[in-house]
């Protein structure tokens, strides 16, 4: 039908014709969809026929491969992580641990699971690390192209849909990507752009949020990065549309959709969800428990940051595949800000210390009460003091 022709969708999914590419030395064949628009987001190399799921339609070429065993993985992939994202009245919080694990060993204790895509969107990745890195880059490319072609940013829901569509042909293969897109959909007004570009102003605003109190160099540099993005966007806008005058401040980069915080989950098996609280990974049940308990729409930034930290901390405590540090991003209408990476080992010891103190205090109080009850309390109080 017409829609299919426009998208070229069936050309990529349908596989009834014989393959015309010669096999390489491994005996595999990689097909590309012919008669294809090179710029299309769907221009991919498709995996060899064995990887296709379910029915294996016997064709001319599959009989040659019947003796080949399915492609062996060099090692077992495992998907241990805790990432979470939630929205509240003042933006979006994205948090994740930093442990990259592989079959019972820690590959990397300081991996970064939250990647910024552009100034108002970060993606929490979980699943296979290589797949996430690749797909995050593909998504960044496609969103930038959209922005340049249409002079407006793609919405978060649109980005989720795009990613979901791009992952669909790989359903049933070993691609494992579970991404949470956290960002702010909104109108770009000249005012917000100016405030982004002025680091001093942002710093002021940020310092008023006492939760994100210590503005480290990394945070400032991330703010700088955000402002640089805004400048680039503005430059692009002017380049494409030189007639824009200063009077049209609101319409420079505005788009009609409603603005606000958004969190969207995209999975390589096709699940796509929009929601208020999303947590992904082996540690997600533990994180959900903390988040469900403490989340309110009207939270302050302090409370939200504390809640996210707590959720990741508890998840890393109980889940073996999550741990090491916690990364935290806060996205508002002005862009994303990054909190210092925090070592959770310290938090664990601090909590142990707090508990110990509490027990000691309670013990003291109890003995004091007992001492008072006994009236004189001479020998006993000396003992217990």
């Amino acid at each position: 039908m017409a829609l299919q022709d426009v998208c070229g969708f069936l050309d990529t999914l349908d596989d009834t014709g014989p393959c015309t590419y010669p096999p390489n030395e491994m005996g595999y064949m990689w097909r590309t969809a012919s008669e294809f628009d090179r710029d299309s987001a769907f221009h991919f190399l498709f995996p060899p026929q064995q990887c296709s799921r379910k029915n294996r339609v016997p064709t001319l070429f599959s009989s040659t491969f019947s003796s080949l065993s399915p492609h062996q993985q060099p090692f077992q992939l495992s998907h241990g992580t805790t990432t979470l994202g939630f929205i509240f009245q003042d933006g979006v919080i994205a948090a994740a641990d930093t442990r990259a694990s592989c079959k019972g060993l820690i590959c990397c204790p300081t991996s970064q699971k939250i990647m910024p895509i552009h100034s108002h969107l970060v993606v929490n990745t979980s699943g296979s690390g290589a797949d996430c890195m690749l797909w995050e880059r593909i998504l960044t490319r496609e969103m930038r192209l959209y922005q340049l072609r249409h002079r407006k940013r793609l919405s978060i829901n649109g980005a989720a849909k795009l990613l979901s569509m791009m992952l669909h042909p790989f359903k049933g293969t070993n691609v494992c990507v579970a991404a949470t897109l956290c960002g702010w959909d909104g109108e770009e007004t000249r005012e917000t752009l100016n405030s982004c570009m002025e680091i001093a102003e942002v710093k002021e605003a940020v310092e008023q949020d006492t939760g994100v109190s210590t503005i480290s160099d990394s945070a400032l540099s991330s703010v700088k990065m955000a402002s640089v993005n805004e400048q680039e966007i503005l430059k692009d806008a002017y380049a494409l549309n030189p007639a824009v005058s200063d009077q049209n401040t609101k319409n420079v980069l505005s788009f009609g959709g409603r603005s606000g915080p958004r969190v969207c989950y995209v999975c390589s098996d096709g699940l796509q969800l929009k929601g208020e609280i999303i947590s992904v990974g082996s540690g997600s049940p533990y994180a959900y428990a903390v988040l469900d308990d403490g989340w309110r729409w009207g939270m302050t930034v302090d409370e939200a940051v504390a809640l996210a930290r707590e959720a990741v901390f508890r998840a890393t405590h109980w889940d073996a595949y999550s741990g090491n540090n916690v990364d935290l991003f806060h996205i508002t209408a002005h862009g994303w800000r990054r909190r210092d990476r925090e070592d959770l080992k310290e938090e664990y010891y601090r909590e142990r210390e707090r508990k110990r103190k509490k027990i000691k205090e309670r013990e003291k109080e109890r003995q004091k009460r007992e001492g008072d009850e006994l009236g004189e309390g001479d020998i006993y109080s000396v003992h217990c003091g």
Binding site: M1, A2, L3, L13, D14, D15, S52, R53, K54, N55, V57, S164, H168, K171, G172, Y265, C267, D269, G270, L271, Q272, L273, G275, I278, S284, P285, Y288
Partner: protein, 192 residues
Amino acid sequence: MEYLIGIQGPDFVLVAADNVAASSIIQMKHDYDKMFKLSEKILLLCVGEAGDTVQFAEYIQKNVQLYKMRNGYELSPAAAANFTRKNLADYLRSRTPYHVNLLLAGYDEADGPGLYYMDYLSALAKAPFAAHGYGAFLTLSILDRYYRPGDSALSLIRLNKRFILNLPSFTVRLIDKDGIHDMEKLPVAPGG
């Protein structure tokens, strides 16, 4: 486990679907809508494998809308059901079959209300009542016992309330000659 139910009355169709979107053991969403509006008087309810449901249902939805744009009038529920079945059947023996179970409910000016049951092997049947999911095992026998063709909407909604399983909430919609109406979202009432 997901659940769909549809009941046809004399001049309306009542459909309900649960609201859970789950990923292995976690309920990721409690207010997930499984109904897709194909046209003013046709609803497609879709459950099954995670990505397949949305992908297939949106594909059918867009194509039904395209038909309207090209030809100026909407597909009837019977035509939409058969179109859906044809697509499901075509994909069944391809490299990428869609594992979805569907209920298609609609109101036609000429034929009146219609409820169509479709499963992942693209079997199509027009039925006075139908259900998908583990809940279907329980509710179909009750419907056999209590369903009467001339029932009013209210009594059928009450009937619906009795069957609610251990799922937190349901979206209920009614299709009649005036279009699609949202009924109240049903939470689980203890003791029916």
